[in-house]
Symmetry: C2
Subunit: 344 residues, 2 copies
Amino acid sequence: MTQNTSINRQIVLAERPKGEPTKDTLKLVEAKVPTAGAGEMVLRTEYLSLDPYMRGRMSDAPSYAAPVEIDGVMVGGTVATVVTSNIEGFDVGDFVLSFSGWQDYAVSDGTGVTNLGKSPAHPSWALGIMGMPGFTAWAGLTKIGTPKAGETIVVAAATGPVGATVGQIGKILGCRVVGVAGGAEKCAYAVDELGFDACIDHKADDFAEQLAKASPDGIDVYFENVGGKVLDAVIPLLNPNARMPVCGLVSQYNATELPSGPDRMNWLMGQILRKKVKVQGFIIFDDFGHLYPEFAKEMGAWVETGKVKYREEMIDGLENAPEAFIGLLNGDNFGKRVIRVSEK
Amino acid sequence: MTQNTSINRQIVLAERPKGEPTKDTLKLVEAKVPTAGAGEMVLRTEYLSLDPYMRGRMSDAPSYAAPVEIDGVMVGGTVATVVTSNIEGFDVGDFVLSFSGWQDYAVSDGTGVTNLGKSPAHPSWALGIMGMPGFTAWAGLTKIGTPKAGETIVVAAATGPVGATVGQIGKILGCRVVGVAGGAEKCAYAVDELGFDACIDHKADDFAEQLAKASPDGIDVYFENVGGKVLDAVIPLLNPNARMPVCGLVSQYNATELPSGPDRMNWLMGQILRKKVKVQGFIIFDDFGHLYPEFAKEMGAWVETGKVKYREEMIDGLENAPEAFIGLLNGDNFGKRVIRVSEK
């Protein structure tokens, strides 16, 4: 069944995954299409963003945000259209950026909803380059990473919406940019299309050696979004006073237990001390929300003039979102993965 | 043998320690008293500072500073007097802050030497509250930790020259300050004399529980100088957007191998991400040297008016420095440990 006007398809959390999410983690249920009360509007989902942070919401481990409840609709950023509206400033047919979650319809009182107008050129881009991932790349790199021309930046998931943007901003700022990605095709894209100076395949046996070779002057900024073996290979290459913005640790999200020893926690602290490294975690809208207008202006101009390129991977059908999400955590995506929920 | 005018006693690195330094690590040798050439001066050591970072210089592991060579004089901050001088601005009898190392006499061309004048009120304080440890506390806390009134600061080695200063500055800034120290006597001193709100004995079986109880609103700034079990107890208590200046990891300096697993390195990164923590290593004069005048002015006023208290532990005799240093790494000191090298 596809999106229609009589049923609200919802994808809910059926059970908390142990390790990798499976086909039993999420399930599709049907609900009534909601109606709008006073001061409310009904939104129909056009596009659903898939992002690695959603794995965290499936767990009830302590985090910066509450977990999704069992049988609760999965959370997620969406681009929607207004179906009915009792709110001034939101008219039927308007595109909006909302947080409707994994469902066809949602009711909103307008809180946190941004009106994108009647006919935005690229509505789904509000979920990517012009939205959370692009903003994460921009703020993490420029406000925490503070790269200077001539410095070396390393970023993993180099063709993903965050990594690709980090790298391209790095090039605009005059840095050497070394990407890490999975497979030759993605690496070629990072270099040939995005302008990275080098991109290393993390599946290569000699990945660490290749990364070192591609970073002959060491690493000044490591934009951390994966952790694991990329972090292992980066640490020895960090220069004094290196900066490490931390926006994600995708390689760790499906881990069910800590890896075996030895315990390198204090060793990492020692590296941070000896190399005078700054490591800073951030959650984009919590920590940098006030800078969104500055980001939107600068990134809008870069995208407009082609200085920053953006690759989307569009998948049709809400019902395909669970499988697409499981693949995202494994790095199957090539570019920003978006679900087209509405009918084409 | 005590300091005299005919022999230059030197303590040199006899061998690189494996683990804790022993009586075989350092040895006392005798050399000629040096003479000053053109543009040089001879300095006689009055006071030698003992500081945990010296353990790092005994090792040839990669670090921010070169190791002491085998049979080389141990490095160290000193307060000295000018014996002969061929440098304008340095006259015989002047006290200076120098980096003469563990020896009676040194030749200097004046580089990095600060003239303290003919009769400073507390010459040895230039090695403590008014020097590297005080500056470390001030810059790490105020420039990286950036505490706001009402926030909670935790610092270990609470009666040491760094920890005691961090805590007292924290109180001046209107924070709740929780210290960690070894034993009841030190803890009582931190609370009763230094004005800490609480101080927990890290030797207590229920140390982590006590720390949690003393930090009912969580921890906003953890000034890291020890690592190990204090860090373990702090992490679960860190508030969102906590800051962690890292100036030392004394608990780790004698470690010969990594502790057994599980490996918590990526777990630590996950905590940094989820709690949006800033962890920043720093080496005081590398990173904040340009702020020394600001520090000296502010700290000078605080010390002058009694707002910041300072405790020294003076030990007589260069020959006693090795044992005193080994004890320092074990937390035997109560206050800033200084060797009085000159005759009383």
